[in-house]
């Protein structure tokens, strides 16, 4: 279990307990947090679950697989701290993670 905080673009903060094994994307979708579309359902094929990860968490996350960076090319305003939230799988180590949802997904 990990507590994940989603900051949405309208400056609202949602902190949610998410079970291990789910992705940060699924945590958002199941809890109706706006701004994560996840059109492809977690297949790393659409870049509509794009989030900005708070800087202090960047090094603690699993490294990007081939393909995630390629998909981020397609994301709306990608930055250095961009990740696809479908690729961030919850574990105890991610307790306290903070992600920021972009203004748009496309």
């Amino acid at each position: 279990m990990a507590k994940v905080t989603y900051n949405t673009h309208d400056s609202k903060t949602h902190t949610i307990d998410i079970q291990n094994g789910l992705s940060v994307m699924e945590g958002a979708v199941q809890n109706d947090i706006p701004g994560i579309d996840a059109d492809c359902g977690g297949g790393m094929a659409c870049a509509t679950c794009h989030v900005y990860v708070n800087e202090e968490w960047l090094d603690k996350l699993p490294t990007k697989e081939d393909g995630e960076e390629d998909m981020l090319d397609m994301a709306f305003e990608p930055k250095q701290n961009s990740r696809l939230s479908c690729q961030l799988i919850i574990s105890d180590e991610l307790d306290g993670l903070v992600v920021n949802i972009p203004s748009k997904q496309a």
Binding site: D39, C40, C46, D70, M74, K104, A106
Partner: protein
């Protein structure tokens, strides 16, 4: 006006198999898709990637699956209308009239929406000012490359479309290729070619830059780009091209009065009919308790929706359940000669 029993919206695997199920029970159909080819997400998102969970097919690619489905529905001669997006829906007595973006008109007894996550549209630049230039000096696809001759073109993106067009247009235009990182998702041979052209001064490659702003009145005069470290460059350009792949949008279907929940259409699980009589939804676009977004679920949903269409197409007939193994009628429809 195209008159047929059923209009299928979406030529992905679910829509294609539904055409098969309609054909087997003797109903005619036509298929509309916004892409230029059949296959939907299978072809657009992962043509070369393997799929391992199609029943009785241990492994196949999206492209192979599509080709096999097309082969399977060939006997029914379903007419395809590609590069067309459905727009308007109107009830006329007990039939539906549908109009598409290309002004095709359909008169059908029922409609099966197999639209995936929506129709594929190009992804656009994040800048607001891009809209006023779009279609004039800013494009997301190229229809007539001759307009670029002897002009300055700024291309954004790092996939095959961006690389291929940068290489091609560098023969006749002055090309700037701008990409957000050093790595590219396009073919390695194209990446090498672009780097060579850059070394030879035949195009200008800017990596770790993204679009900053556009200036111009009627047409674009210049573009500014911003480096990861904050540095800004500005240069003159006649055209801006963006190649960021495609995104799926539900589009006009949203306005049809269907019960929509989180970008999906609510259906019953008896025949996958929506809240509107005669309109069915199957595949990724439909939702019901327990829904799985798998191709195999889409096949099941298509089989039941096809049978649900029967009473609208042939209100005076009763549909008998038959197996293709033994049904003479089904085998005749499949064109099997004995």
């Amino acid at each position: 006006m195209n008159k047929t029993d059923v209009l299928i919206i979406g030529a992905g695997p679910t829509g294609l198999f539904c055409a098969h199920q309609l054909g087997i029970i003797g109903l005619s159909c036509e298929i509309v898709d916004n892409l230029d080819k059949a296959g939907g997400q299978c072809i657009e998102l992962y043509p070369d990637k393997p799929i391992y969970d199609i029943p009785a097919i241990p492994e196949c690619t999206g492209e192979e699956l599509t080709n096999n489905l097309l082969k399977q529905i060939k006997p029914f001669n379903a007419k395809f209308h590609l590069n067309e997006r459905v727009e308007e829906l109107k009830k006329v007595e007990n039939r539906w009239h549908v109009k598409t973006s290309g002004k095709q008109e359909f008169d059908v007894a029922s409609i099966v929406i197999a639209g995936g996550v929506g129709s594929f549209e190009p992804r656009k630049f994040p800048l607001k000012e891009c809209e006023k230039f779009e279609g004039k000096s800013l494009f997301y696809s190229i229809k007539d490359k001759s307009i670029f001759k002897d002009k300055i073109i700024s291309i954004f993106g790092g996939g095959d479309s961006a690389l291929d067009w940068a290489i091609e247009l560098s023969n006749t235009s002055k090309v700037n290729l701008i990409h957000r990182r050093d790595g590219f998702s396009g073919a390695e041979s194209s990446v090498q070619k672009v780097k060579e052209l850059n070394d030879q001064g035949k195009l200008n490659l800017y990596t770790k830059y993204q679009i900053g702003s556009l200036t111009g009145n009627e047409k674009i005069d210049s573009v500014s780009i911003k480096h990861d470290d904050g540095e800004v460059k500005e240069f003159k350009t006649d055209y801006v091209l963006g190649f960021f792949g495609l995104i799926m949008q539900l589009g006009p279907i949203l306005d049809w009065g269907l019960n929509i929940n989180k970008k999906t259409v609510e259906v019953n699980t008896e025949n996958f009919e929506t809240n509107i009589d005669g309109i069915f939804a199957i595949g990724d676009i439909c939702s019901y308790p327990g829904k799985l977004k798998l191709i195999l679920s889409g096949f099941h949903e298509g089989a039941l929706a096809a049978r649900g269409c029967f009473k609208y197409a042939k209100p005076d007939e009763k549909l008998r359940f038959e197996f293709t193994t033994t049904s003479k009628a089904a085998q005749e429809r499949l064109g099997i000669k004995k």
